[in-house]
Amino acid sequence: MRPSNAVAVHAALLIVSAAMLLPFYWVLKTSVTGENIFQYPPTLLPRSIHPFYYVDVWYYVPFVRFVANSVIVSVLVVVANVVFNALAAYALTLAFRGKRLVILLLLSCMLIPFQATIIPAYLITKELGLLNSHLGIALPLCSTIVCIFVFKASFDAVPRSLIDAARIDGLAEWRIIRHVMLPLSMSALATNVILAFIWSWNSFLWPLIIIRNQEMQTLPLALSTFLSYLENTTGALYAFCIMVLVPGIVLFLLEQRRFIEGLTSGATKG
């Protein structure tokens, strides 16, 4: 059913797409040409393309170290997320006394944003002696309530007969999770992995609080430190931006559907 004003719709959407893509195009153009950092009026098309700002970023800042930090923290977060959330979600599929209360408690925890707990989180991390370490950065991000419910929705769909058969065969509970639940919930697993990875990769406030020396910085923090040192006097800043954005964009494009479904799983219920 093609609407009669398809052209108008396309036109409107094209304008909106241009507005949404303009910042990307602009920063990409500046990172490869270096125009418009100091000169005015700005030009729309690039005049002379060179990749030298990327070389600058690679050598002037310990870029590899920053990427390694971000990757280590994200891997820690993703693994911990999957393990803890799967366990929690499995527990929520069993019937026990006070289950309704626990679910209500978890739901109300969803209302407390992480930013409201930064002070106690900082104090606890300090007491544990984990300031300025990978584990310290990863720890508060290790479990998100949304992920628990994503897993729970998927575990609930596993037929009880399967679980009962596994129990009769004598499998211990955690084996049931590993061999029965998880293989049937690969989609939820993938969604959680992607969500957890993106949240920990983009996380800025917590590393800002915890990290004390330059070597342990993660990528968002490194980018903001670079900005505060050099302001916008060099195209290397924008090359840094692009280098930092590319993994996020690539991951998103590869797993679009999962990502969107994971985020909107609340919209289609209730």
Binding site: R2, P3, A6, V9, L13, V16, S17, M20, L21, P23, F24, W26, V27, N36, I37, F38, Q39, Y40, P41, P42, A95, L107, L111, I112, P113, Q115, A116, I118, I119, Y122, F149, K152, A153, W201, N202, F204, L205, L208, I209, P220, L223, L227, N232, Y238, C241, L245, G248, I249, L251, L253, Q256, F259, I260, L263, T264, G266, A267, T268, K269, G270
Partner: protein, 260 residues
């Protein structure tokens, strides 16, 4: 409730901090007001997203591509987005100033992020740019749940497109819109990265929101006790808003079914 800092042992101080907060602190009220204005932008973003969702939902070719492009801004790092927008807003070489000047809309360049009245709207525009894709996708999911048979029956009965939209689609979209509103409110309370990178609190606290003020009090000025009081205020405020919104739309909405 306690006088505390990393350097002194704690003493019980009653409500002294709250008193200082509410009655003697200009910056607190400024940041409160800024948070409110940030929140007020959520309905605007939702309206924009609704228009976009309606456009993308129309059966045209390539709507998957449009959806991807519009949603692309959401999974990005807010720090990088802040740097990009900071530069678009630049007074001397920013693109926005150039566009405004060449379109003849203004006489001279505006210092967006350095002027007291333009700083907060500028930050809000950047935040809306980042989140409108997310809202659009949620509303799109809601739109696709509207049964087409209902719309067709109404069309046969002679209802115009606007009437069909107002009477059928809009009420069925209420849960999705409520979710967007909640997310917008929570986003305005927790949006630290963007503001910190773009203005760092703004020219003379023009863009200071509660969360940046909490960060500054706790980790820059080391006044942990005062920051704790601020956090409690933030949390109570957020909770009461959530509760009020929940009541206003009639009870249990969004989230996951709690009955088991």
């Amino acid at each position: 409730m306690q006088t505390w800092s990393p350097f002194r042992p704690s003493r019980f101080a009653g409500v002294a901090h709250y008193e200082e907060l509410f009655f003697h602190d200009e910056v607190f009220w400024q940041s409160f007001w800024n948070t409110l204005s940030f929140m007020a932008s959520a309905p605007i973003a939702i309206a924009l997203a609704l228009v976009l969702a309606l456009l993308v939902n129309a059966h045209i070719r390539g709507r998957g591509v449009y959806r991807t492009i519009i949603f692309l801004s959401y999974p990005l790092m807010p720090v990088a987005v802040g740097i990009i927008w900071r530069w678009l807003y630049d007074e001397k070489v920013g693109l926005l100033n150039y566009l405004l000047l060449s379109l003849g809309l203004v006489e001279q360049r505006i210092a967006f992020l350095d002027s007291y009245q333009w700083a907060m709207p500028s930050v809000i525009v950047a935040a809306v740019w980042q989140i409108v894709g997310f809202f659009m996708v949620i509303l799109l999911a809601g739109l696709q749940n509207v049964p087409p048979s209902l719309l067709e029956a109404a069309a046969i009965d002679g209802a115009s497109a606007w009437q069909r939209f107002r009477r059928i689609t809009l009420p069925l979209l209420r849960p999705a819109m409520f979710l967007c509103l909640m997310l917008g409110i929570i986003n305005s309370f927790t949006s630290f990265d963007l503001i910190y990178v773009m203005t760092g609190g703004g020219p003379n606290h023009a863009t200071e929101v509660l969360i940046t003020y909490i960060y500054r009090s706790a980790f820059v000025l080391s006044k942990f006790d005062y920051a704790a009081a601020l956090t409690v205020v933030l949390f109570v405020f957020l909770l009461s808003l959530t509760w009020a919104a929940n009541r206003a739309t009639g009870g249990e909405a969004g989230a996951v079914d709690a009955a088991e």
